[in-house]
Symmetry: C2
Subunit: 478 residues, 2 copies
């Protein structure tokens, strides 16, 4: 076959494989086990990926909470079987791998230990694109000498203009980050919008641009195509059996699309199929479904509410015998979002906006009840909202109280020193203190169990398969 | 949201919906019933589609063979509930809606009756892009005053160059056809290849270009995007719950992609969601799966063998306890295809090439056995092969016999007059003779049953639900 685009301006596209983090977080409720990863990690290391996203996001919490696995141990194992490929993690900035802001000492120490155990690239994002929330994490990674990938969260609103993204990206560039990720977790970035956004960023920035989209409504591959034509250097994909649906686009298709063009990924399709066959067998064994695009995923196109959030709202409403109010809630959400200064609808802000919208609809009066997390958001504890909060809503929520204007974590005291005593008898390594600092209850239970087993069975006879029952399913969109 | 592409060069994209023909032929083994279509056809007629593909391809045969439905009756009903939208059919040129060449009198009469019963646009294709095989059908449609859409089948081979497609399209244009369809039934058309192909065609042709791709490996939406940028006027899509996998791309996503650009389809997303919700309910009721992309679908990228053909070969080999030879067969197929002059791998040529490749591998000697249909192909009875047939293979197959060089149907005598007597007592309308001319056994059984029921129950008491058992599943890729 002939080369479709002139080879002389060759611009090879790099690829991040998300199979071991985002893909199974999106499709398998983050339930892939380390034992599922080890037989194939060597082959994945041979592909020639720019990086493997294998850690962070929800995987840390889920390892301990549901899989009875030590996330640090997983990282060490993966690192020990990869020689050619960067290992990458998703770091929720000041939220680390949790759901609230942690003190700076926890953020710093976590980054040091992650780097020590094998992470080469740290992708750092904040739900509100508030760079102050990313500062400590960025500086800590810079101290380790590892790669800082700063992130801007993509959303649609009157204040999320191309100029907003350029300003934020320029700020991040001035902080000395190594690359920029555009994070389209809801699959909202349309191809011709991507063309404008990426062209503008590419012109201003002196660093590589990575595009992270979720397939969801099905636009992501067209968005990657126009994004790449406009200057994207790296794309995020997953192996076919863990691609599509709420996950990333499939690497096999992207490879075929750009083969023999100037954007050729130069990956070996047959090796990719071999890897995919392995994961397809794991998928069947574990009983998970393939990713498909549901109508609710597509309804995102008409009101910008992410599909995962819609499913959550529907079941929330059905619990109240009010399933028929979903359309009212979907109409209320953009209004609440406007009142609150257009936060991107991503964890945790999607819950904040969604819960308020449900109250507004079910109680028949807007802001009659305002949940604590909404008040907390209005007080500034999540960071700077993208636009001004409606003064009347603010008054109803917090009266005459002044929202904070500082970086939220400035108000948090260091905690690592204080917790040493609390779990000293269960900890085996420095990293265990971090696990506890992030998820005290979950980590304590995990560490206690581990000690008990070792007391009974000895070091090498860990009992198999006593997975804890899941008490709650979390909506995880990152 | 702002307009991403300047509105001043507005070029609205038209859409053909394939839900009622190709989509369920691809995903539901063509088993959608007329009763599933009637409750929603009125809403589909309101959307503003350029056309609804509702008839032809495999639907005609399957109606009688498996659904105990009269295909003519379906067409009349659909026509009676549509006022705004063109009804479209897929006509297999001299094969009409069957799997072999029929005499000219059958082709002509079929076209007249299809037009009379409601077809506005006839999409006509030949598996070998032999325009002689399309000639009678084209002329017959022209006599009715309806729209002739001529088709070129897309495939990958050294002789299927851009120039080949331009030449074929120019020949068709000279025959006075109204529009051109590029038919990518195996999802092989890559976006940057489409860009070159469509740009070249758009420059030469004075008629609208329609692009028909199957999603299969997942490239189709990127192909539509580059195709549209390069001059495509009309795209083929299906409603989301019957899209993806081996079917067409979803209309909802395509609408979202082009919204507020110069290519805006101007379709109403909420109406599209309403229609999709209906079909999603039908899908669940009927127990069909959603379309997903399998690894075999993607392996198409490395050896150009259509996914549907691979599944068929695998089960053919497993019947012979030779499932492990699939890789050998996949390597043999391109060689056989080359020997036979690079026919596109589409029904019926996919079977011809596939069967020969299986024989060559299993018998351990190439062309030791040559099936009748391969001989028939080599004799020229399917039309002119795209390139020369290997002389040694030809010799082995038909010795010194000269292949025919005329249009295959020139050798077929008219049949319609002769069959009148055979089924006169079962026929109720002129169309019944056509059904019988095309599928004698199936039609006779169908017509007899109908008569028996009417004799017993009277006109209005047709017994429900005594669907005949399917004896065979056919591979249908058009
Ligand atoms: Co993600
Ligand atoms: Co088709």
């Amino acid at each position: 076959m002939s080369s479709e685009v002139e080879k002389n301006e060759q611009r090879k596209i790099k690829v991040t494989d998300t199979t071991l983090r985002d893909a199974h977080q999106s499709l398998w409720a983050t339930r892939m086990r380390t034992e599922d990863m080890l037989p194939i990690i060597g082959k994945m290391d041979e592909v020639g990926y720019h990086s493997l996203e294998v850690w962070g996001g929800a995987t840390f919490d889920v390892c301990m909470r549901y899989l009875d696995e030590d996330p640090w141990e997983r990282l060490r194992l993966l690192d020990s079987y990869t020689n050619n490929t960067n290992l990458q993690m998703l770091l929720r900035a000041q939220n680390v791998v949790g759901y609230k802001h942690y003190p700076d000492d926890v953020v710093r120490e976590f980054v040091y230990k992650a780097a020590e155990n094998g992470i080469d690239i740290f992708r750092i994002f904040d739900a509100l694109n508030d760079v102050r929330n990313m500062q400590t994490a960025i500086e800590a990674v810079q101290e380790t000498g590892k790669h800082v990938q700063a992130t801007v969260v993509y959303t649609v609103s009157p204040v999320h203009t191309i100029e907003h993204y350029i300003e934020t990206a320029m700020e991040l560039q001035e902080m000395g980050v190594d690359s920029l990720c555009i994070k389209d977790m809801a699959g909202l970035l349309k191809p011709y919008r991507a063309e404008k956004l990426i062209s503008a960023l590419d012109e201003k920035l002196d660093m590589p641009i990575e595009l992270h989209s979720h397939y969801i409504g099905g636009m992501a591959m067209t968005t990657y195509l126009k994004g790449i034509e406009s200057g994207v250097d790296i794309i995020d994909t997953a192996t076919a059996s863990l691609a599509f649906g709420s996950s990333q686009p499939p690497i096999e298709t992207m490879t075929a699309i750009f083969e023999d063009t100037k954007y050729d990924t130069e990956l070996d399709l047959d090796l990719l199929f071999e890897i995919d066959s392995y994961f397809e067998r794991v998928r069947r064994k574990r009983g998970f479904s393939r990713g498909v695009t549901k109508i609710t995923d597509m309804q995102t196109f008409s009101h910008q509410v992410p599909g995962g959030m819609i499913s959550n709202l529907v079941s929330q409403l059905e619990d109240q015998d009010a399933g028929d109010r979903i359309h009212d809630v979907l109409e209320e959400i953009p209004k609440v979002r406007e009142d609150l200064g257009y936060p991107p609808l991503v964890t945790p802000t999607s819950q904040i906006v969604g819960t308020q919208a449900v109250f507004n609809v079910l109680l028949g009066e807007r802001y009659k009840v305002i949940p604590d997390e909404v008040k907390s958001y209005i007080r500034g504890y999540y960071g700077q909202p993208p636009a001004e909060i409606d003064p009347e809503v603010q008054k109803k929520a917090i009266g005459d109280e002044e929202p904070i204007t500082c970086r939220p974590a400035d108000l948090l005291d260091p905690t690592l020193d204080d917790i040493k005593d609390e779990i000293e008898r269960y900890a085996e390594k420095e990293e265990d203190y971090l696990s506890y600092a992030l998820f005290p209850q979950v980590a304590l239970k995990f560490l206690k169990e581990r000690k008990k087993e070792k007391d009974i069975f000895g070091e090498d006879n860990k009992e198999e398969g006593h997975t804890k029952e899941a008490n709650e399913e979390m909506e995880l969109t990152d």
